[in-house]
């Protein structure tokens, strides 16, 4: 084991982390995590585009980028609220309620984003 290089050790740690994740996370949370990963990718693509070709039209870039950022944040909030381990923290907010809030926030967010998109 001592003979493994640093890269090999890093890979092993990450592998273990991923396996643990798959085993211990509930399905519901994994769905949300996948969704968050998707949002992240979309945000990165938009940012790379902006860096490459410039910020014109700036409002369009901001609308798109903030849409991804805000969606990510809302998804993070939803994940926190439906996680059974946090049940004591969010006493009185059922998962359905959390999901309803999530939907409402998204409705408002997208209205604003589309307005700013121009």
């Amino acid at each position: 084991i001592v003979f493994f290089s640093l890269e090999m050790q890093l890979v092993q740690v990450l592998q273990k982390l991923f396996d643990d994740y798959v085993k211990t996370t509930s399905q519901r949370l994994k769905i949300i995590d996948a969704y968050m990963f998707y949002i992240l990718l979309t945000g990165i693509v938009q940012f790379v585009y902006c860096v490459l070709v410039g910020t014109f039209p700036f409002n369009a870039f901001l609308a798109g980028f903030i849409s991804t950022v805000a969606s990510f944040i809302l998804a993070a909030c939803l994940r926190m609220q439906v996680n059974e381990e946090n049940k004591d923290e969010f006493n009185g907010i059922s998962p359905e309620r959390a999901f309803a809030d999530f939907l409402f926030a998204h409705a408002v967010l997208h209205l604003v984003v589309v307005n700013f998109l121009g």
Binding site: Q27, K30, I31, A34, Y35, F37, Y38, L41, T42, V45, Q46, Y49, L52, V53, G54, F56, G64, S94, P95, E96, R97, F99, A100, L103, A107, H110, L111, V114, N115, L117
Partner: protein, 633 residues
């Protein structure tokens, strides 16, 4: 001898007692007549209002100018249309009819209108004078007592110069016994006059007030047959004021001035004289004096013009010469005197006195004119010296009077040029001219550089030095051929000297071109025209890249679907409820609405639709989630 001296002393005392303060040196000339007649004639052809036409016709009549038939007919026609119930219009029309030949008005109600003016409440003296003039022109017999009452009331109420001057003129048109009551007002009117500079007397209210006052005073005096309570000096000062304003252009003011001057020419008490110097002030020629009344015509009676004395500062140089009438003068107004003994060049004062046989003539003393005696100048001992930097004389030339140097000078940029000369008058005495310059005239460009010759200790000696090392830049970098000119001038030198003394070729130090700042440069050429540049759209990336990235940005959706499939989306746990499809369809509709909003709607419409769809989604979602929550429990 003693008796003669006593007589002389008494005569001087009498002369001083009757000597006036000022004399008049201007008069209404033919040029003034021409100027104002043209203006009046213009009014007659172009204006329609009765008041302007009145002043024009009356002014032309007083000046003895003819009005041609066409204008006369036109103006008469306008006057005949007058409404004879309007006192002001009637006044102007009556005067016009009186001024024009063969113009008669039919005014049946004229008498009533005129008499009604006297009965008006608080009527002013100007209106009363106008009404009385109307009656006079139309030969109406009116009630003098009512006018007298109204006039007295008017001046009791208002004793201003305007009111009093019109009152006096009005009183002169009433009966003699009634007019006598107003004679004392002459004094009150003259008291109110303001003296300016000791030379002018004017009344408040404008030029017309002063003119009407003079007219009124003398008309009333004429009616009463008594001299007016006004002194000779006051008459002269009033006349001076009127003459100083004779170039007025307004119709009414001009007419009033002409009328006032007219009364000053042929009244029975004071006829002011005007004495002016018509020739040049140079005593070397004979002096010509113009002696006339205020209209430029000869004074009444015989007039002798004497030169009392010619003074040079305090000394009397000449005295008691009589001026002779100029034989060729038909107007009998020009007098000449010559041969006055003024030996020394300088400024003298000529004192003139008039002796008029007619005792009415005033303004005959205290007459003086500044004159001068001049001399001719010559220049002697003119020498031009060119020396080099060390003072060594390179060339020296003496130039004879009014000659030109025989050979030209060559001067380089390190030399000095000196010019020295003496100015003398023709009779040998030295002169100190006001202007003694040497001008360097550049032949090619015409540029002139002027240097002042400085007076030296000897009276009349002058020297000019130009050091090209120090003063070279005055020449502005113009090298080449120059002409040197000597200029001598003074008010007491009869002929100015402008004498080319030499030619020179001068090399001057170059002067660097003056850099004119762009903001100070004057450029009259056509500047490039400015066309408006509209805002260019910003650079956008090529369509290919943006389309590619659109696809790349949408690509993660596939990854999401794949991951969700891997994780295992639990669709079978969906409850069977009517709200399920409604909720999902509603949600889809909401986001479709947003898409349409992006493409074409505005916020208000979107909110309108959103209210509907949102309501549906909210209710459906709420029910659905409740169902799921209960199912979970």
């Amino acid at each position: 001898v003693i008796t003669m001296r006593v007589v002389g002393l008494i005569a001087t005392l009498i002369a001083c007692a009757t000597a006036e303060k000022i004399f008049l040196s201007s008069y209404w000339s033919a040029a003034d007549t021409k100027r104002i007649s043209e203006s009046f004639q213009n009014v007659l052809s172009s204006k329609d209002d009765l008041s302007s036409l009145h002043y024009a016709t009356s002014g032309l009549r007083l000046l003895g100018q003819k009005v041609d038939d066409a204008k006369s007919k036109r103006v008469c026609a306008l006057a005949q249309k007058v409404n004879d119930k309007d006192a002001d219009a009637l006044f102007h029309a009556a005067s016009i009819a009186g001024d024009l030949s063969s113009c008669a008005l039919t005014t049946p109600s004229a008498k009533t209108t005129v008499e009604a003016v006297a009965k008006e409440v608080d009527v002013n003296s100007e209106r009363l004078f106008d009404a009385l003039t109307t009656a006079d022109r139309l030969n109406l017999k009116i009630d003098d007592t009512s006018f007298d009452k109204a006039l007295t009331a008017a001046i009791t109420k208002d004793a201003s110069p305007k009111s009093l001057s019109n009152a006096l003129a009005a009183a002169s048109l009433l009966e003699k016994s009634i007019g006598a009551k107003y004679v004392s007002k002459i004094g009150s009117l003259v008291e109110q006059a303001d003296e300016v500079d000791g030379k002018y007397l004017q009344l408040d209210g404008g030029l017309s007030v002063t003119a009407t006052a003079v007219y009124g005073i003398f008309q009333l005096a004429h009616q009463q047959g008594k001299a007016p309570a006004i002194t000779k000096d006051q008459v002269l000062q009033f006349s001076n004021h009127l003459l100083s304003r004779r170039q007025v252009f307004a119709d009414r003011a001009a007419y009033n001035v002409i009328r006032a001057i007219g009364v000053l020419i042929n009244n029975g008490y004071f006829v002011p004289a005007s004495v002016s110097l018509e020739s040049s002030v140079d005593l070397s020629k004979s002096l010509r004096l113009h002696v006339s009344n205020l209209f430029g015509a000869a004074l009444p009676g015989a007039v002798t013009v004497r030169v009392e004395k010619l003074t040079f500062g305090e000394t009397v140089v000449d005295s008691a010469k009589t001026a002779t009438k100029v034989a060729s003068d038909s107007s009998s107004t020009l007098f000449e005197v010559s041969g006055l003994a003024a030996k020394e060049a300088g400024h003298y004062i000529l004192h003139v006195a008039l002796e008029a046989a007619d005792k009415k003539v005033i303004g005959t003393s205290s007459i003086s004119f500044p004159v001068k005696a001049t001399s001719e100048a010559t220049v002697e001992g003119l020498e031009v010296v060119v020396a080099d930097r060390d003072g060594k004389i390179q060339k020296k030339q003496s130039i004879a009077s009014f000659a030109r140097a025989p050979s030209a000078f060559t001067v380089d940029s390190s030399s000095t040029i000196g010019v020295s000369f003496t100015v003398k008058s023709k009779d040998g005495s030295a002169l100190r001219p006001h202007q003694a310059f040497v001008i360097f005239e550049h032949v090619e460009s015409g540029e002139e550089v002027v240097f002042i010759a400085d007076a030296q200790k000897t009276e009349g000696a002058y020297k000019m030095d130009v050091n090209l090392v120090k003063e070279g830049k005055d020449f502005g970098g113009h090298s080449g051929g120059y002409r040197l000119r000597l200029v001598i001038g003074d008010s007491l030198i009869r002929t100015t000297l402008n004498w080319i003394i030499a030619d020179a070729t001068i090399t001057v130090p170059a002067v660097s071109a003056e850099v004119v700042r762009k903001s100070e440069k004057v450029d009259y050429s056509v500047l490039p025209s400015i066309t408006h540049m509209f805002r260019q759209p910003e650079k956008r990336p090529p369509g290919l890249i943006s389309d590619a990235f659109t696809l790349i940005a949408l690509a993660p959706i596939l990854i999401l679907v794949f991951l969700w499939a891997r994780i295992g989306v639990n669709l079978s746990a969906m409850p069977t409820s009517i709200y399920v499809p409604i909720f999902h369809v509603g949600l889809a509709a909401l986001f479709t609405l947003y898409f349409v909003f992006w493409l074409q709607l505005n916020m208000f419409e979107t909110l309108k639709y959103m209210a509907v769809i949102g309501g549906v989604v909210f209710i459906a979602g709420h029910r659905l989630l409740r169902t799921m929550a209960e199912a979970r429990k």
